[in-house]
């Protein structure tokens, strides 16, 4: 039999609550870019360090510009990741290119790092005919088969048990690859989280659970999300390796993910990483945080800007200069604007795409629905301007 207990008996009634359990936060460099005393600094060369920084910068610029575009009405919706770029770029930098990423929605930094082009971003954001997702999901639901980045889906936490399954397949295939799934501290309340972590630890699966604890789920502060000291202590309930890192310290995130990856791939040990950060922007372009938190609180975190922190480190190492920095940001802004302009006028997908991919092949029934729809559009071309112009050719 198998009750897991290595039994130790006591005869006094004593409840425990884990208060003695203190999970510390791993940090490498201070905001001014100097390493903490005695800190274990990960080993990364200048090329990689700059690739990381440039990815963080591009993510920042992309977020700023696209929110502005949304405000101008050029875009229906957008979600910024401002403040969390160290987490989203840092974790991706520690992976092999073909490790699978199954993210939530605020992880554009990882995609940037992997080389998703600005055009690719824009095509998705504008739901045009070049969007890989064929204009079917809201902006920010990116995906790339080539970059091993699973297409984002809105229902929260569903990707977490999927990551366990995906990684199980990788293990069976002997790929020596892992799956990383990213989610918010809010999403970690879903039942799927529990299912995923428990299954991963029982089945010994090379999966890494990266929780972005950014303090809020829309308006709900984490104090109303859970009573414990964050998400990391939950791992112990599954006997899973866990670590908490400073999510604004890209070097800490990178180092933790590197070691987590080793545990996952070499030892089939799933790992939970909790990255502590802050959602500096609104939840999305539909949200206004002034209704639920103070400017002061935001300011406190703005001072912990992860880009500044990493730049300071780079500057100290003389791997980067303020001049290069200004030039980089200027270049990125230009590049984003150009890509935006090009994408926003590309036409929408053809009406025929309405029924593809429901199944591997359109069923007879769907083909019939499409034909009826086309006939209808031909009858009222003005009512369906996106498709009527290209319905009989193209």
């Amino acid at each position: 039999m198998s009750t897991a207990t290595r039994e130790r008996a006591v005869h006094q009634l004593e409840f425990m609550r884990g208060d003695e359990l203190q999970i510390p936060t791993y940090k490498v460099v201070k905001q001014d870019g100097t390493p903490y005393k005695g800190a274990q600094v990960p080993d990364l060369d200048q090329a990689l360090a700059l690739k990381i920084y440039r990815s963080m910068a591009r993510t920042r610029v992309l977020d700023e510009r696209m929110l502005a575009a949304q405000r101008q009405g050029r875009l229906s919706f957008y979600m910024q990741s401002t403040g969390e770029e160290a987490t989203t770029v840092g974790f991706a930098a520690a992976l092999e290119d073909d490790d699978m990423i199954m993210a939530q929605y605020r992880e554009q930094g990882a995609l940037v790092f992997r080389g998703f082009t600005l055009d690719e971003f824009m095509n998705q954001l504008f739901s045009n005919e070049q969007d890989y997702g064929k204009g079917r999901q809201m902006p920010i639901h990116y995906g790339s088969r080539q970059l091993h980045y699973m297409t984002i889906s809105s229902p929260l936490a569903t990707q977490i048990p999927q990551a366990t399954g995906y990684a199980y397949g990788q293990k069976l295939a002997g790929d020596k690859r892992c799956t990383v799934t990213v989610f918010g501290e809010g999403a970690a309340s879903e039942g799927d989280f529990h299912a995923a972590l428990n299954m991963a630890s029982v089945l010994k699966v090379p999966v890494i659970f990266l929780c972005r604890n950014n303090g809020y789920a829309i308006s709900t502060p984490s104090s109303e999300q859970f009573a414990a000291d964050g998400i990391a202590p939950r791992a112990l309930g599954y006997r899973m390796h866990a670590i908490r890192v400073d999510g604004n310290d890209v070097l800490a995130v990178y180092a933790a993910m590197q070691e987590a990856r080793r545990l996952a791939v070499e030892e089939n040990e799933p790992v939970l990483i909790e990255a502590m950060s802050y959602r500096l922007a609104a939840h999305s372009s539909s949200d206004d945080p002034s209704g639920y938190r103070s400017k002061k609180e935001e300011e406190k975190w703005r001072e912990k800007d992860p880009l500044v922190r990493f730049k300071n480190w780079l500057l100290k190492r003389k791997w980067w200069s303020e001049e290069e920095d200004s030039a980089l940001f200027e270049r990125e802004r230009q590049a984003v604007l150009e890509a935006l302009k090009a994408a926003e006028h590309r036409p929408a997908p053809m009406v025929d795409e309405m029924i593809t991919d429901v199944y591997d092949q359109p069923t007879a029934h769907l083909t019939e629905q499409l034909e009826q729809l086309k006939a209808h559009i031909r009858r009222y071309p003005d009512a369906y301007p996106k498709t009527s112009g290209r319905i009989d050719h193209g």
Partner: protein, 325 residues
């Protein structure tokens, strides 16, 4: 009377329900101090305290599990699911638990105090996951009531009735017209009956049946048909389960024709049930096949949403096809 939009009417109904009965408790993701992402629960925490209006952790199955228990205890649990698209993690708690709680216990226990409010429907550029109309999934579940209001006046009266109804109710709110639908709403406490459809316009040639935001669509189509000299009778089903077959059958016996329109995909949608029941009741009266104008049988798309939707033009064409059959 006061001018309110649909959201304000919902908020007003909740306010009245909470003021009138201490046992009414509202909760869900972001419904606390923030008042919900659509602000349907605005100011309720301020007025009634954190115990009676609060944020839950982000877990729909927990929200409804909790709500079932709270209702079983004797409270009137009013749970919000942020979008109807996110109600499925709670499907087991609703379909296996809420719906069967009273029956399985021989009426020892019940969750009649439960009301689940959730915004549904498309037309807001929401894509797959902010557009679904899942009423048919619930309408196959004896023990539940399923209610959809079409305007602010209806929303207030039906929501108050739902909260007080001694049965679990899933209350779908048409989010596309949350702000767009504005109308006169009595300021006092009133209820509209569950389980009764309403004939909103009389006519003689064809019956058009819909619910929620889709009522606007069939009204527009009816106006177009009117210009062709086709007289449409309009019915708002209002309660999807248990539904008012008598009112619909009486109308179809008069007009001889029926068109049903809903936002959800055609196949397996609730229009199928209605068509099946009405062809049985009205077989000898029907002058043309019962028509269904619904969403396509695909997930809800984004860029081609306009093409996907059962809009007034599609309804209008189907009216013509029906009367010309």
């Amino acid at each position: 009377m006061a001018k309110m939009n649909l959201l304000q009417a919902v908020n007003n109904a909740l306010d009245i329900a909470m003021a009138a009965d201490d046992k009414v408790i509202c909760f869900g993701e972001d419904v606390g101090s923030f008042g919900g992402v659509f602000r349907a629960t605005s100011h309720l925490q301020e007025k009634y305290g954190r115990d009676r209006c609060f944020n839950t952790p982000l877990v729909e199955q927990g929200i409804i599990g909790f709500a079932n228990g709270l209702a079983a205890q004797g409270s009137r649990a009013v749970a919000e699911i942020q979008f109807a698209d996110y109600i499925f993690p709670a499907f087991d708690q609703i379909v296996n638990e809420s719906a069967k709680f009273r029956y399985r216990s021989g009426n020892l226990f019940d969750v009649g105090g439960l009301t689940i409010r959730t915004p549904y429907g498309g037309g807001i550029a929401g894509g797959h996951y902010h557009s679904q109309s899942p009423e048919a999934y619930f309408a196959h579940t004896p023990g539940l009531k399923v209610v959809v209001p079409r305007n602010p006046h209806q929303a207030k009266g039906l929501l108050l009735a739902s909260i007080r109804d001694p049965n679990p109710v899933v209350f779908f709110e048409p989010k596309r017209i949350y702000r767009a639908s504005v109308g006169e709403v009595p300021e006092e406490d009133y209820q509209l009956p569950l389980g009764e459809a309403e004939v909103t316009r009389e006519g003689s040639d064809i019956t058009l049946l819909a619910w929620g935001a889709q009522m606007e669509i069939i009204e527009k189509a009816a106006e177009m048909a009117d210009k062709d000299g086709v007289s449409c009778e309009l019915i708002d089903l209002r309660t999807i389960l248990p539904w008012d077959v008598d009112t619909v059958a009486a109308s179809v016996q008069k007009t001889g024709r029926l068109l049903i329109s809903h936002e959800a995909p055609l196949t397996g949608g609730f229009a199928g049930e209605i068509a099946a029941a009405i062809q049985e009741r009205c077989f000898l009266y029907l002058e043309s096949p019962i028509a269904r104008v619904c969403g396509l049988d695909t997930p809800y798309p984004l860029a081609l949403e306009k093409e996907y939707m059962a809009d007034h033009l599609k309804v209008y064409e189907a009216i013509k096809a029906s009367v010309q059959f």
